[in-house]
């Protein structure tokens, strides 16, 4: 059914159609509207049987989901940013125990300085936690990925994180086709756990493992991720057959035929990138784009195939791995290793949209043109005000007690957020 609704509402309705039996909620912006909508669906009786639990922290939100999942219930929670870091220990635990929990991550920056707006720092920080990480490009895919996520999680007995850009998707009103209960039921069978804590068959779950077997257990978790690379496209393909639209999968090339430059990105920014690609193609520039839906497991072979033939790759990513550069670009470079020496592709990192800074067509067009012309450095900060940076560096070198950097920069930038847009 077509609806003009907020992204969070669309996701909540899709999640409810998956018949979760336990939902735990702890509020953090911008994830709140999703769990609020789910709470309403449970309280009104339209989602039943389902226990909706208001917990006292994100750490407990995921812990409740762990207990529920281990007891054989389909469990769901959602978080963002600091909340994801607060539940970090439980993230590793859920994947280590092989519990098919599905969680929405409303992507948001991580402080300090505290910032509620969108970037991908949160998801990147937890990239090695053993969760499958899928990124939605729009609100339709955000809703659809949840339906696929439960199927995927339960097929592998592995938790899945659906990453949706905070505010840009969670708070945006768009057209969303919400499927019927019958359609989702036909696609998503009842949850049959591979392990369950049950008095009828007592088992010990969560035993201590020493040096004699730890490496094997960890490898098996990695093996699960590798299996996901095969299962994700199968599920996306079946989803397309049943629901009549493409959603999910490993990645989506856009006008990459004959492209000498290919832009790689994850999430909602792909919409903007494709508009810029269209404009540059119209101007005769051989450029294409690659929308990466699956970030963990990293589909290295598929990325390599999709980028084959390109001379330059521009990775646009919403995170800055301090002391390193971009996380996604590092993975893309790894994927391109193994290509013959004569086809070595140059990979540029463009860090954009940190803390919610707008990523405009104009800025992307400029940087893509520079990249295509071979004028882009290895690491480029999109729309960074170098004057602000240099003045603070100078203040710090002049005065030991130069004060908090965030306050100094804000004073320098001025009272308005005039640089946005």
């Amino acid at each position: 059914m077509l609806k003009q609704i907020e992204g969070s509402r669309g996701m909540a309705e899709a999640i409810a159609l998956c018949r979760p039996e336990v939902i735990c909620a702890y509020p953090i912006t911008p994830q709140t509207h999703i769990v609020e909508a789910l709470g309403e669906l449970v309280k009104s009786g339209s989602l039943t049987p389902c226990e909706f639990i208001n917990v006292e922290s994100e750490f407990s939100a995921l812990s409740v989901a762990i207990g529920a999942s281990a007891a054989g219930a389909r469990a769901y929670t959602a978080t963002s940013s600091q909340g994801l870091l607060f539940m970090a220990e439980a993230l590793y635990n859920a994947s280590g125990l092989g519990l098919p929990i599905v969680m929405t991550l409303g992507n948001r920056a991580i402080g300090a300085p505290i910032n509620i707006w969108n970037d991908h720092s949160d998801a990147m920080a937890m990239r090695d936690a053993g969760w499958i990480q899928l990124f939605a490009r729009d609100n339709q895919e955000a809703a659809d990925l949840h339906i696929q996520a439960f199927r995927l999680a339960e097929a592998l007995s592995c938790p899945v994180m659906v990453c949706v850009d905070g505010f840009i998707l969670t708070h945006a009103f768009e057209r969303v086709d919400v499927p019927t209960q019958g359609e989702v039921d036909a696609f998503l069978p009842r949850y049959e756990p591979v392990q369950v804590i049950d008095p009828a068959d007592p088992m010990t779950i969560g035993a201590m493992v020493g040096p004699d077997a730890f490496a094997e257990v960890r490898w098996l978790a990695h093996h699960k991720q590798l299996r996901a690379l095969e299962i994700i496209p199968e599920i996306a393909s079946e989803f397309e057959q049943r629901f009549g639209r493409r959603s999910g999968g490993l990645l989506r090339p856009y006008r990459t035929d004959g492209a000498e430059t290919i832009v790689v990105a994850m999430g909602s920014v792909n919409g903007t990138i494709e508009v810029v690609v269209d404009a540059m193609r119209a101007g005769g520039v051989p450029i294409g784009a690659l929308d990466l839906c699956t970030f963990r497991p990293f589909p290295a072979a598929a990325v390599r195939d999709a980028l084959r033939g390109a001379r330059r790759v521009i990775v646009v990513e919403k995170n800055l791995a301090l002391g390193m550069g971009g996380v996604l670009a590092s993975d893309v470079r790894m994927a391109l290793r193994g290509e013959p020496a004569d086809v070595q592709t140059v990979v540029h990192t463009v860090v954009a949209g940190l803390g919610g800074r707008a990523i405009t067509q104009a800025s992307l067009g400029r940087v893509f043109a520079e990249g295509h012309a071979g004028k882009l450095g290895e690491l480029h900060m999109l729309d960074l005000d170098w004057g602000v940076v240099e003045r603070e560096v100078a203040r710090m070198s002049e005065n030991r007690r130069s004060g908090p950097t965030a306050s100094n920069v804000l004073r320098d930038v001025g009272p308005s957020m005039r640089r946005i847009g």
Partner: protein, 330 residues
């Protein structure tokens, strides 16, 4: 060190089993007990926690007809019972993390409710996992009145990591992080918290304290706890021969002295009010309790007795006796 080996216990508190009606005999006296925590585990000799856990869970198993799931916090109890690939648990048992046993138990209870199952949930942990790192999760479980019995096995320090101080460590006790050095040796006065009283402040249906020194009392409390639904808390005092420096065969004796001197009052509370207390039958001085434990050695160093500091501890015990009316029990 040579120790007396006791094949059975005598005395009025234990010899009664054979004289009692079959219905009132302890769960532990029955050959049909479930042995939820069975033999072969790696606990130290004389471990109070291993004893307490088996007693509590066997009683809970009987009370629920075996329809029980156990969630365990990280700690000694988790480590000594599940060295991979072995397990001493004969009940369905789930370990997740150190700080989240109460939340995981909430999740299990929610799953059971969602599925219409009558299976009950017990969460358990040591004093560190319960009163320190897991306290937020515990308080959340209490205030939501989730259908979980949480059992804290209180051995008054972080024993699994090598006897470091917790918020349950009593004043004066020597631990690895409160050494018996300087002008104020051992743990400080005025620190620490009373977890059962904080549990009561949540207004939950049932809170009780128990000791491995009194099997019948402990089993009765587990049974009482399993009769009601909602959040319940049982705080069990379990001596640790390793951490306390007591003899392995003195575990019950030390636990009993803690009760008899008033340092560990036994009581039950319903909805925030104390409704029953187990009276002290033979009151003992705190010093008798301290003398059996090397963690208090500094109070008796060089043949001198640190009368002043012992008196401060005695004052705490006296206040408990007065506050909980432990001499009369009414």
């Amino acid at each position: 060190m040579s120790q007396r080996i006791k094949f059975y216990q005598t005395g009025t508190l234990t010899a009664g089993n054979r004289l009692l009606d079959p219905e009132t005999r302890a769960v532990q006296s029955s050959v049909d007990r479930s042995n939820a925590l069975t033999s072969g585990h790696r606990a130290c000799q004389g471990c109070g926690e291993a004893l307490g856990a088996r007693w509590v869970l066997d009683a809970a198993m009987r009370a629920t007809g075996g329809q029980l799931v156990v969630v365990n916090a990280t700690g000694c109890l988790e480590v000594f019972t599940t060295p991979y690939p072995e397990s001493s648990w004969q009940v369905p048992w789930l370990h997740s993390l150190f700080a989240n046993a109460a939340s995981v138990a909430t999740g299990v209870a929610a799953a059971m409710r969602s599925k219409g199952s009558a299976v009950r949930v017990v969460a358990q942990g040591g004093d560190g996992g319960t009163m320190d790192i897991g306290f937020g999760a515990l308080s959340g479980m209490f205030e939501r009145n989730d259908d979980v019995l949480y059992v804290c096995y209180d051995n008054e320090a972080y024993m699994n990591t090598g006897v470091q101080r917790s918020s349950a460590t009593p004043p004066l006790a020597r631990t690895a992080t409160t050494p018996a050095l300087g002008p104020e040796p051992g743990n400080e006065f005025g620190h620490g918290k009373n977890a059962p009283l904080i549990a009561m402040a949540h207004g939950i249906p049932y809170v009780a304290t128990a000791s491995v020194a009194d099997l019948h009392d402990l089993e009765d409390k587990v049974e009482a706890a399993m009769k009601v639904h909602g959040a319940r808390y049982l705080h069990v005092h379990v001596p640790c021969p390793l951490g306390w420096g007591s003899a392995s065969d003195d575990t019950i004796k030390v636990a009993r002295l803690a009760v008899q001197c008033g340092l560990f009052p036994l009581f039950e509370a319903e909805h925030g009010e104390v409704v029953r207390r187990t009276p002290i039958r033979q009151r003992q001085p705190v010093e008798a309790y301290l003398r059996l434990q090397r963690r208090f050695d500094h109070l008796f160093a060089g043949g001198r007795v640190d009368v002043e500091r012992i008196a401060r501890l005695q004052a705490i015990a006296d206040r408990n006796i007065e506050r909980f009316r432990l001499l009369t029990g009414d």
